[in-house]
């Protein structure tokens, strides 16, 4: 079996991630910091270390400004709902996933938020000046994906931040955190939403939001935090202000182990190797007759993800045949990003997305090329 669906979730998880989660469940298992006994203290230490590792990886100098959520979608909701108030204007893009488009649709309906959608160019890349041109007097936030989950195209988030000045920028790093170097403070970003189970190599059920210094958000959920227990007012200090209830501690521990692994390997070194491997694959795709590749032609301008269509078969049929005939697992359809597919002209049938990850080898990608070449034959 060849797994090329890492853009949905990475698989298999590294042994260090699995081992850390098993060790937590077997040997610790307590609620972090709530109960005061030794296991509760140990759980709190493990959550602390995971937060520190993720903060180091994302360039956040104070790990209190990394809050854990159940996934990137919840992190994006936290940022959007926590910042946008009645009458505010938000700038988004034609590349956004439904995890941004749907919360914004709800905020438009419930809070009177207005939205300007900035289109990407033919290669699926945003022009920072066009984003800046969409700003208005009531613009409270700009939200941009760091890489399209459809084409994989990387977006110039640093240049966008420079172009929009003091307006806060929310970066959806679901596809890039752990795969592409990203430094919240050095890059001047305000909010970075991340998925824990994709390139950060953690399990499903954990993600988070990293905040720039001084940024205040209204909480999405309030409740028990293990702090200020005498008060019915939710705490205002981080991370408790934006985390309530017992966390997914096994998931956080697994995410921490994944982040540690990436820190040890180095995200830049990992990225360089991935670009080399994926460029060879992109070059191979261009040699397949009747195959159309979406997004930029070079691997350095995208994450290791390729969205394709074949002239003679629909996306669902291709994905099904790749699975059943060749044991190659990919994702077909709209990838929860109808906006992006409309912009690409691939709506409503979508594309086939082949996405590589930490466990992908050259042989895996060569096998996918050979299978696609066979499928294009009449």
């Amino acid at each position: 079996m060849i797994y090329l669906d890492h853009a949905a979730t990475s698989h298999p998880k590294p042994a260090a991630v699995v081992d850390a989660m098993v060790a937590f469940l077997r040997d610790v298992g307590a609620s972090p910091g709530r109960s005061g006994h030794r296991l509760s203290a140990q759980a709190a230490r493990l959550v602390f270390e995971a937060r520190e590792s993720v903060a180091r990886l994302l360039g956040v100098s104070d790990s209190r400004r990394v809050v854990f959520t159940v996934n990137a979608t919840m992190a994006l909701n936290l940022a959007l709902q926590g910042l946008l108030g009645p009458g505010d204007h938000v700038v988004s893009t034609s590349l956004e996933h439904n995890s941004v488009a749907r919360p914004l649709a709800r905020l438009k309906a419930t809070r009177g938020v207005t939205e300007t959608v900035v289109p990407a160019d033919a290669a699926g890349v945003l022009d920072p000046q066009r984003v800046a041109d969409a700003l208005g007097p009531r613009t409270r936030l700009v939200v941009v994906t760091h890489a399209s989950n459809v084409t994989g195209a990387l977006q110039p988030v640093r240049a966008i931040k420079q172009a929009i000045g003091t307006v806060p920028l929310l970066v959806d790093a679901a596809q890039t955190a752990g795969a592409v170097p990203l430094d919240l403070e050095r890059d001047g970003l305000d909010l970075v939403a991340f998925s824990g189970h994709k390139s950060l190599l953690g399990p499903q059920g954990v993600g988070g939001l990293a905040l720039g210094p001084g940024l205040q958000l209204a909480p999405l959920v309030t409740g028990g935090t293990g702090s200020r227990s005498e008060s019915e007012e939710h705490p205002t200090f981080l991370p408790d202000a934006l985390e309530a209830g017992t966390p997914n501690t096994p998931g956080v521990v697994g995410l921490g182990a994944g982040a540690e692994l990436l820190l040890a390997r180095g995200v830049e070194a990992t990225r360089e190797a991935e670009v080399r491997r994926f460029q060879r694959f992109l070059d191979g795709l261009r040699g397949v007759p009747g195959l159309a590749l979406q997004g930029p032609p070079d691997a350095a301008s995208r994450v290791a993800s390729a969205s394709i269509t074949l002239a003679n078969r629909g996306p669902s049929e291709i994905a099904h045949l790749l699975d059943r005939r060749y044991g190659i697992l990919v994702r077909a359809g709209l990838h929860c990003a109808p906006r992006a597919h409309r912009a690409l002209g691939t709506f409503p049938t979508g594309t086939v997305r082949l996405s590589a990850g930490a466990s992908t080898t050259d042989a895996d990608l060569d096998a996918a090329l050979a299978a696609l070449a066979e499928l294009t034959r009449p």
């Binding site: 910091g33 709190a44 602390f48 790990s63 293990g226 702090s227 005498e230 408790d240």
Partner: protein, 80 residues
């Protein structure tokens, strides 16, 4: 105060408690995490407990901007 005493350092969050423990241990100061005594704070979490001779290190960490505790109390190590 007669008899042995302990310093209890109260922070806003469990995150800050664990951070303080890590910083103290890194400077060779033994400490422990214990349940917050009800007469010290109504928080349901934990506090850092250390010997009174940890005070200069705590003050240094605070002066360097690494720590900001909510409350610091010295009391008998066995309050019974």
């Amino acid at each position: 105060m007669s008899g042995p005493t302990v310093l209890l350092v109260v922070f806003d969050s469990i995150h800050d408690v664990v951070r303080a423990e890590k910083l103290l241990l890194a400077r060779g100061v033994p400490c422990d995490l214990v349940p917050t005594p009800r007469d010290v704070s109504s928080d349901c979490g934990m506090v850092v407990a250390c010997a009174p001779d940890a005070r200069p290190t705590l003050d240094a960490l605070a002066a360097e901007g690494h720590l900001a505790w909510k409350l610091l109390v010295e009391r008998p190590s066995d309050p019974r």
